[in-house]
Symmetry: C2
Subunit: 270 residues, 2 copies
C-alpha cells in the first residue's frame, strides 16, 4: 500500500500494552486507528479508555469481541445475550461502529445445533446493535478452530448469516489468516460487496509454530496479502486495516519495535 | 457399526510395524483389510508385500500415496509424473484398485497456480491408472495443511476435480479428520454419490496436540463419526473403512493394544 493512513493497531498484537500504552504508542508512531479489546478496556475503565483515544486524536476501528452465542440452558443463553448487549454498549461508548463477533463455540459434536444458536443470537442482537449505531462483524475463523471457538469457518457461511439482516446492521470481517486457504475466497469476496466491515492482516507461517499463537508478521508467510487487499477494496471496503497478530515472539518483543515493523511491512507486503 | 468386516488398518496407525508385522497383526486380530504405504512396501519389497498380504487372506483397501503434482520446472514435473505412474503400478501389483492422492504441494503464494498443476496432473494420470485397473482417490486435506501439503482442502473442490474424469477413473476419499468442520459437508456428500472410493476415520482432539501428529482414536474427539458413516453409505460407499491415525502416543503404544482398541472403538463410535 502507498500510505499508512488506513492501518490500525489491533491491541492484541502488542498484548502487554494497556489501553493507555497502546494509545500512546499509536500516537508516537503516527498510526491513526486502534482496534480495542474488551478485557483491556475493562482494565482501564470504559470512559477513561474512550477519553484517552479521543484526546490522542485516534479513531477506534473495532471492538473485539462479542459472540460466543451457543450455550446449554436458558440461564447460560441469557447470560451470553446480556454480555453481547454490554459489548454493543461498550463499542458505542468507545466511538466505533463495529463489534467483531466470534461465532461459537461448538457444543459437543452437534455443529448444526451450535450454528442454529449462532444464527438466533445474531438475529436477536442485530436490532439492539443497530439502535446503538453499531454494526455486527461476523468473522469466520479458520476451520482448525471449529472444535473450540467458532462454528462459522468460511466466508460463504458468514455471508449467508449476514445476509439475513440488512447490510447496515450485519457484515463480515475478512481476516487473512482465517480465509486465505479457501478455494472460494475470490468468488465469495465478490459476493461480499457492501458487506465487509473490517479487514485484518497477518500472515501464515511455515511451519506453523502454534494454532493460536503462530500468526506471522505480514510478509513472513504464504498469504498473498496484496491480492487480498485489492479484492477487499474491489468489494467496496476502504476502511481501516487492522494488524492483528497473535504470536508469542511478537508479544515478547518491545512494542515500539513491533510498531516500526508493522509500518514497514504494511508498505511492503499489504 | 454392527460388525468389523469393513474395518481396514491403515498402516500409518501402527507406524513402527513393517508390512510383515502389520499383515500378521491384522490376521491375528481378524481384521480383513489393510491400507499400505509406499515407503513401507518399498522396505519389504513390492512382490514380497503382495505375497504376504495374499497369503494371509487380506485385501488391500488402498495404497498411500500418489499426488504431489505441483513443481517448478519441466524436469521436476516429469519426475513427479514418473513417480505417480510407479505408484499406480505398485497399487495394481498389490491388488488394490485405489491409489490415494495428496493434491499439492502449494508453490509459494500462488495457490491458483498449484491448483492448476494438480488438475493437469490428475488429468494426465487418470487414463494411465484406468488402464491398470486403479482408481485415483482425491483426498481433500484439512485447510490447515494448505501451506505445506495439499491445495485441495474441501470436498467440494475435490469433487469438482474428480468430475472432470469418469467415476470409474477418479473419485474422492472422505477422511473424517479433514472434512468434519465443513458447513457444506452433508450437501457435498450427497453430491459425491458414486464418487467415493475411500472412507478414513480418526477423531479431532480438543485441544489439538499437534497439526500432523494430533489425530485421535475414534470416540476421543469432536467428530460425529456415526452420522458421517451413514452419510457416506447413503452416497453409495459400502467399501472398507480405513482407520488412519497419525498420533505420536498411539505410535508409541504396543501395536496389539492399538488393534484391540480400534476394534472396540469402531463398534462403539463409528
Amino acid at each position: 500500500m502507498a500510505d499508512l493512513g488506513r492501518i490500525s493497531l489491533n491491541q492484541i498484537t502488542i498484548n502487554r500494552w494497556s489501553v493507555a500504552e497502546a494509545v500512546e504508542g499509536c500516537a508516537r508512531h503516527g498510526i491513526g486507528w486502534i482496534g480495542l479489546w474488551r478485557d483491556k478496556v475493562a482494565d482501564c475503565g470504559l470512559s477513561k479508555s474512550a477519553r484517552l483515544v479521543r484526546d490522542a486524536g485516534l479513531r477506534v476501528s473495532s471492538l473485539c469481541r462479542g459472540g460466543f452465542f451457543a450455550a446449554h440452558g436458558v440461564a447460560a443463553l441469557e447470560a451470553r445475550r446480556d454480555d453481547n448487549r454490554r459489548a454493543v454498549d461498550e463499542a458505542a461508548a468507545l466511538g466505533t461502529d463495529v463489534l467483531v463477533l466470534v461465532c461459537g463455540p461448538p457444543l459437543g459434536r452437534d455443529l448444526d445445533g451450535a450454528r442454529r444458536m449462532v444464527a438466533e443470537g445474531i438475529a436477536d442482537l442485530a436490532p439492539y446493535a443497530a439502535a446503538a449505531g453499531v454494526k455486527l462483524g461476523i468473522e469466520p475463523l479458520h476451520p482448525m478452530f471449529a472444535a473450540e471457538r467458532s462454528v462459522i469457518v468460511t466466508l460463504a457461511e458468514a455471508l449467508t448469516l449476514a445476509e439475513t439482516s440488512s447490510p447496515d446492521q450485519v457484515g463480515v470481517i475478512v481476516d487473512a489468516y482465517h480465509v486465505w486457504w479457501d478455494p472460494e475466497l475470490w468468488i465469495q469476496l465478490r459476493r461480499a460487496t457492501g458487506r465487509i466491515v473490517g479487514f485484518h492482516v497477518s500472515d501464515w507461517l511455515v511451519p506453523l509454530p502454534d494454532l493460536l499463537l503462530g500468526r506471522g508478521m505480514m510478509g513472513d508467510g504464504t498469504v498473498d496479502l496484496l491480492r487480498l487487499r485489492l479484492a477487499v477494496e474491489a468489494a467496496g471496503y476502504l476502511g481501516p486495516i487492522e494488524v492483528e497478530i497473535f504470536n508469542q515472539a511478537i508479544w515478547d518483543a518491545p512494542g515500539d519495535e513491533i510498531l516500526a515493523l508493522i509500518k514497514e511491512r504494511s508498505l511492503a507486503a499489504v
